[in-house]
Amino acid sequence: MSRVEARHEVDRPTPSGAPSRGGEPGALRWWRRHTLARSLTLLVGTALALGLLSELLNEYRDLQLADAAYYFAVLAGLSVLIGLSGQISLGHGALMAVGAYTAALLIGNEHWPLVPALIASVFVTTVVGVAVGAAASRLRGPYLAGATLAFAVGLPGLAYQYSGTFGGANGIAINPPAIPSALGSSFPLERWEAWIACAGAVLVAFALYNLTHSGVGRSWRAVRDDEIAATVSGLRVPRVQALAFTLSAACAGLGGGLLAVVLQLANPGAFPLVLSFYLLAAVVIGGLGSLLGAAWGAAILVLLPNWTHDLAQSFSLPDKVGANLPLAIYGLLLIVAMLAWPSGIQGGVRAGAGFIYGAVRARRAAGREIG
């Protein structure tokens, strides 16, 4: 988790005499150095792939895709926060609630259109994130975990205390998002919701990809690895950490707003304390600090309850065992991951890919020597 990533952009002179194999080094280098080009390609590619995927899936699976997409928005922000800036947050469930209630209040009571309402939920959550982040930047490890935990436990109380505004335990129900008439009358609502949520998720991925590959991302890593060295190098550590927390909160706000749109409801029951534990487990198991890891985590959050439900049914386990099975698996995987495999699923994938790549290169080199 605390591996220093040296990212010195060294300009290696290309051996001018040697024939460049198919112009590969030049193109590759351009590709490596232009983060924006890379991320735009990824943006368009992922959006197309997700759109195609949603066409292939049935309504139920489309809804799951929408769930995974808003979870991804939250997890990506949390993963960057923990994995790159080295801060922990158990309050992201509550931050999601802030985003969800903002979206629900604006859409349900004020009849705002979808996009401005989502922008507003990002904005409001960002403001909350600035406040929490400013406090968080003064806290370390266990203090920060405890403070954000208290935040996650305390915030839902507001929904009950001011039930006139927030609807108490019932929450605020909103109408489903209107499907544009251009898509035809038979376009399923679930698919439209999946499109909305995926658009949000892809935007989050685009923004975070560019940020983490910029000076901002490098300053986060520097602070994570050694705060004192970072201070000596001229970084203002509290500001760097507060920025990371605020951005992460903004992602959680968007995720929460999308959740309210997809579920057409914001209620305190959707944001229990255990949601924050689920989020933490998902980013750790998926792989900290990596966007693909967050995607793995989102897939786990959506699919695992289904799998354990099927498992419990096929082994005819008692209800209480089946109901607690996902929680038990998360707890077990959290502990195992931290003790034995801190880089998570994405770390495993990367190690596997690296192994295959190494084997291929070795074989090629051997072939060239023989030839």
């Binding site: 922990i88 490890g141 203090y143 205390q161 099975l325 929680l327 038990a328």
Partner: protein, 292 residues
């Protein structure tokens, strides 16, 4: 006025519970520099064991004994098997492991005993004392709780100040390398520290169970309040944990009584943030430098 007195008395007796759990957190923090977020789940588990024993028709005191014994064993085993591996790792790893433990223990309890909270008997009558014709919100059982808490605090103070074991425990926590050179078995001291903390925690679980009921998630808020109390008093100070617990108990009692109980967790958050902003080391801690 009667309400104020009642809220004060109620605050002291609930604060005493927070104080005991905070004491458990402080013991573990002093020994291993880890905040044990699984403390609430650990005491939940041992209280469940006590509930099973009592439901089987055994006396209350046997249930208490079972809870204490299982707490002692649970703490020692968890330290030896899990926590030992993250003691030297970055602090975030230890935080995540204790959170994983919290989730796992709650899931296990739900699997074994179900998620519906069940009632738990009190040691003594929960009918409030009657003074001058008005019934106070302070029962013989509350008195028992307060006395037990101060007894435990006194006992631990004696253990740490007066015995060789206490000296070794403090030495291992204060300077592990030096203590090891002096022949203190530091690893064993850490295990004993965890076992002691879990013992104290399991006592708190049995004391608080009659008012919160026994269920997998019933002790989550106790953990939060205990953490706030421990930070308020200073994570390094056992005396601070007791004072912090009582202060927090009073604050939460007034907030619940005058404003509404839904705001109690937010009030705890406010106390925590205020403490960390004004005096990050807590009430009973000298100014602290950050270690390089």
């Amino acid at each position: 006025m009667t309400q104020f007195i009642n809220l004060t008395l109620n605050g002291i007796s609930t604060g005493a519970i927070y104080a005991v759990v905070a004491l458990a957190l402080v013991l573990i923090w002093r020994a291993t520099r880890i905040v044990n977020f699984a403390q609430g789940a650990m005491l939940m588990f041992t209280t469940f064991l006590a509930a099973i024993v009592i439901e089987a028709g055994n006396p209350y005191w046997l249930g208490l004994l079972v809870a204490l014994a299982s707490g002692l064993v649970l703490g020692a085993v968890l330290e030896r098997v899990l926590i030992r591996r993250v003691e030297s790792a970055p602090p975030l790893n230890a935080v995540i492991v204790t959170l994983g433990l919290l989730v796992l223990l709650e899931a296990a309890a739900g699997m074994i005993w179900g998620n519906t909270p069940r009632s738990f008997p009190a040691a003594f009558s929960i009918q409030g004392f009657e003074v001058g014709g008005t019934r106070l919100l302070f029962s013989p059982n509350d008195l028992f709780i307060v006395l037990v808490v101060f007894g435990v605090a006194g006992g631990l103070a004696l253990l740490f100040r007066m015995t060789t074991l206490g000296l070794q425990l403090r030495a291992a926590a204060f300077a592990p390398e030096v203590a090891r050179l002096q022949g203190v078995r530091v690893g064993r001291m850490f295990t004993i520290g965890w076992a002691l903390a879990a013992l104290v925690g399991s006592l708190a679980g049995v004391l608080v169970a009659p008012s919160v009921f026994v269920g997998p998630n019933q002790f989550d808020s106790i953990l939060i309040y205990a953490f706030v109390a421990a930070v308020l008093g200073g994570l390094d100070s056992p005396l601070g944990a007791i004072v912090g617990g009582v202060i927090l108990g009073l604050v939460l009692s007034y907030v619940s009584g005058y404003e509404g109980s839904a705001l109690a967790p937010l009030a705890a958050l406010a106390v925590l943030v205020a403490t960390l902003m004004i005096r990050p080391g807590g009430l009973f801690s000298p100014a602290r430098e950050r270690r390089v």
